[in-house]
Symmetry: D2
Subunit: 143 residues, 4 copies
């Protein structure tokens, strides 16, 4: 279990607002640990769509999720709203690792932080493929 403090708000370059839902809370009355990952997934893909890199139906290459993780520091509960911070932490030849942070709307301190790694593969062969230069430029934009 890591013990370093969580990254602050200014460690992130883009924020995605997300509304919580009644059933994000589990039996203990707080957002279930699993739900944070649905927010990570949503923040990464929202941003990729916004900047024009993600074309679900026809895009090539396509990103496969190979690793994710999360450290939880404070609880969140419906009906709070959250903001998900995003930053590209590492750009490999065919992979991208994002850092993510969950902040209750307006809060300075993060409730959780995570990482999320995509490996890009050719749509047909499904073998790792170098990220196109145009992609690298956009991804470095939030690096």
């Amino acid at each position: 279990m890591s013990r370093e403090p969580l990254r602050p708000r200014d460690a992130y370059r883009h924020f995605t607002p997300i509304s919580t839902r009644w059933h994000d809370n589990d039996v203990y009355g707080h957002v279930n640990n699993v739900v944070y990952y649905s927010w990570f997934d949503t923040a990464v893909n929202s941003w990729l769509i916004e900047v024009g890199l993600l074309d679900i139906e026809n895009g090539n290459p396509i990103g496969l999720v190979v690793e994710t993780g999360c450290r939880y520091a404070a609880s969140v509960e419906f009906p709070q709203k959250v903001e998900v911070g995003l930053k590209v932490a590492r750009l490999g030849s065919s992979s991208v690792t994002y850092h993510l942070g969950i902040f209750v709307e307006g809060a300075e301190e993060p409730a959780a932080e995570g990482h999320f790694t995509h490996v890009y593969v050719d749509r047909d062969s499904r073998r790792p493929t170098p990220l196109p230069e145009a992609w690298r430029a956009v991804l470095e934009g939030i690096g």
Copy 2:
């Protein structure tokens, strides 16, 4: 299968904005039919919290969901945002039925409409109990 046209926007008295999530979409690329119910649940409970009627931990009486339903007219897909229309359609002695409508943000035409019925029971005995007068007044406010 009912064939009446869906209720228009002005059939509702309160709107709750909800952001969609990556995995609201299913394999067909549209929001899965189940997810609409999580929006209904969220809209009803958000409103009950906003107006001060819902106190999850200590409230008495408590509402049990006894019936829900949904008719789907058009697809919604992440990353669209939706607005959930809400109205009290019927107020029984111990029950409340809501009408709900799903609208893609800014759309005039509904994507779906639903109903949702709570029966209120005593927290301890779990037997149906008349809605307090103070509740009726608030509920009639969006009737």
Copy 3:
């Protein structure tokens, strides 16, 4: 709110076992009303795959969900297991309505019952299309 008794176990022709999950329970400690619909969806599609009617990637026609509903009679809670009863209740020229029942494993009395209607459309034009005769025969098999 309908008041007829729920359909008994022998009203169904096929049963799908489903394991519950920790976060099926909501803050009240019971399976959230929304989750029942994910079981309906799973039971219908599992059966369609089993009998060879559903080919997600290439099948034609494809089924769109146009109406669903559920009546709740008793609570279910993780870690219980459930069995979902299924029956074709109505076969239209291009639509199929299923009746569904949720039973806690081994229970005689249903915890809930629902309906679920697919309209079949041509994969390309997305207009309603008559159900192929071969499909009707299979669907009538659990009618």
Copy 4:
């Protein structure tokens, strides 16, 4: 991104069977990365209930999830069934870290592996509290 091979089947001491659901699959036709965490959560809590350590309503101490992670090696898709391997990997004075593995039913090779750490706190003060000796004995039983 870690590159060690995933742990084999015999690295685990307990297996929980879980049925997949239609909407576990996302738009790419495979189980969404988030869903694996709902299986981890379910496997850990199922086992804790089975061995009598988890009493949701009254238990003391209670476990808070402080860290989770997952590495994905192969896709899983509905309607496959999975088995979740479980093992206690580290027992701290007030924390427990589990190793988890996702196996498609009958498969030798894991589709994914994860870790999951609970810190136990006193129900009232919410401060970390040493694990009772009786708990340690049971937890060591799958260590």
